[in-house]
Symmetry: C2
Subunit: 214 residues, 2 copies
Amino acid sequence: MSRKAQGERTRKAILKTAVHIASAEGLEGLTIGRLALELSMSKSGLFAHFGSKEELQVATVEAARAIFINEVIKPAFEATQGLLRLWKLCDIWLAYVQSGVFRGGCFFAAVAAEFDSRPGPVRDRIAEIMKEWLSSLCDAIVEAQNAGHLTKEIDPTQLAFEFNSLELGANWAYQLYGDARAFRRAREAILERLNRYATAAGGPLLAPEVTTHE
Amino acid sequence: MSRKAQGERTRKAILKTAVHIASAEGLEGLTIGRLALELSMSKSGLFAHFGSKEELQVATVEAARAIFINEVIKPAFEATQGLLRLWKLCDIWLAYVQSGVFRGGCFFAAVAAEFDSRPGPVRDRIAEIMKEWLSSLCDAIVEAQNAGHLTKEIDPTQLAFEFNSLELGANWAYQLYGDARAFRRAREAILERLNRYATAAGGPLLAPEVTTHE
DNA sequence: TGGCAAAACGAACGTTCGTGCTATATACTC
DNA sequence: GAGTATATAGCACGAACGTTCGTTTTGCCA
């Protein structure tokens, strides 16, 4: 293995650990010393990969985004465009939070709350990425409308806001109380809305009990 | 003024500042040195009022609770029990977040995200207080049902979860994007639900435009 | 095999953290 | 007015923080 590839490999290993620590303890709680300890390497050796703590934080955010895309966006996009994909986006998001992919629940919910009053490139990137997510939701709604599955009377931005809120709410309840019923509540609320706004072409959606993840 | 009363007064002043710092920078970011600087007093003099950082954090949480009760719970309880009080609870909560009573938006949303994976008395107290809030919402729903304003078919816990989620979602959007439209979206979603589940006795609720806070 | 980057290390920097200890200023009690 | 409790200040501590430095180890290539 080339020396260059080894560096890249180490960097990946660092970020993998960093993402998990940060989701639980935040991007400030993510300490270089702690990270080095957990990886059994020296602070300075680790530090050299990034050059500053802020760059480490940005890199960690980027790594979390890659995981999120792989775990949520990609699987949902395997579903056919329309009502089903919209539902999958929400359903898989909830499943991925519940599965404990990140120790601290949704990585972005955690770090958004941490950085929302802390200007700088880290905050900016977090905001961008969450906007991406919200846009994905919104786009899926519009597609469902264009496919004739969902009435055009509803405001896509409004519905995306509501779905996102319910998801964040479920994450909040799960993290703070370990209450897994929150996921079912979020699913129920989302499905209720989807079913209410669905046209005949959209067909009846599943009940929350029948979804794959419980 | 007695020496004892002076101590109490200082303590209050400290906590008032502490709450605002913590809502923006978190309870860990709330540093004793920083706090002392902002109040133009010595670290040790300030520290003597609490004995440990953890006690300072708990006291800060308690102070935030007092403000919250004064700003949200009490005003809402001036409304008559039933549908109106339920609506007021939500409406005033949103107004209080938007008003910037706390620099970092909802104090408890901020510190809950920060401490949800950090066991200890601070986390426990935060969880208790948010449960209090959720119970207040739930109780208001039940009262509205008992008053005949709201159909008994709905599950109060489910509705409370949804309202709380929408509120947290609005807080999130406002903090991260400064998007004040999120408050209107939350109000619209909440009112839509209230109106849908309201009985004839409940009467038609206000449209979001007519509420006092915008 | 010898040279050379890349990668990792160990030690130290200056700063800030929370937390003690000791002393002084202040107001109330007798 | 002396004595006492309370409130605040001053100073120092050990640990941890991010960061820099010079050095050593590592593996590829000529």
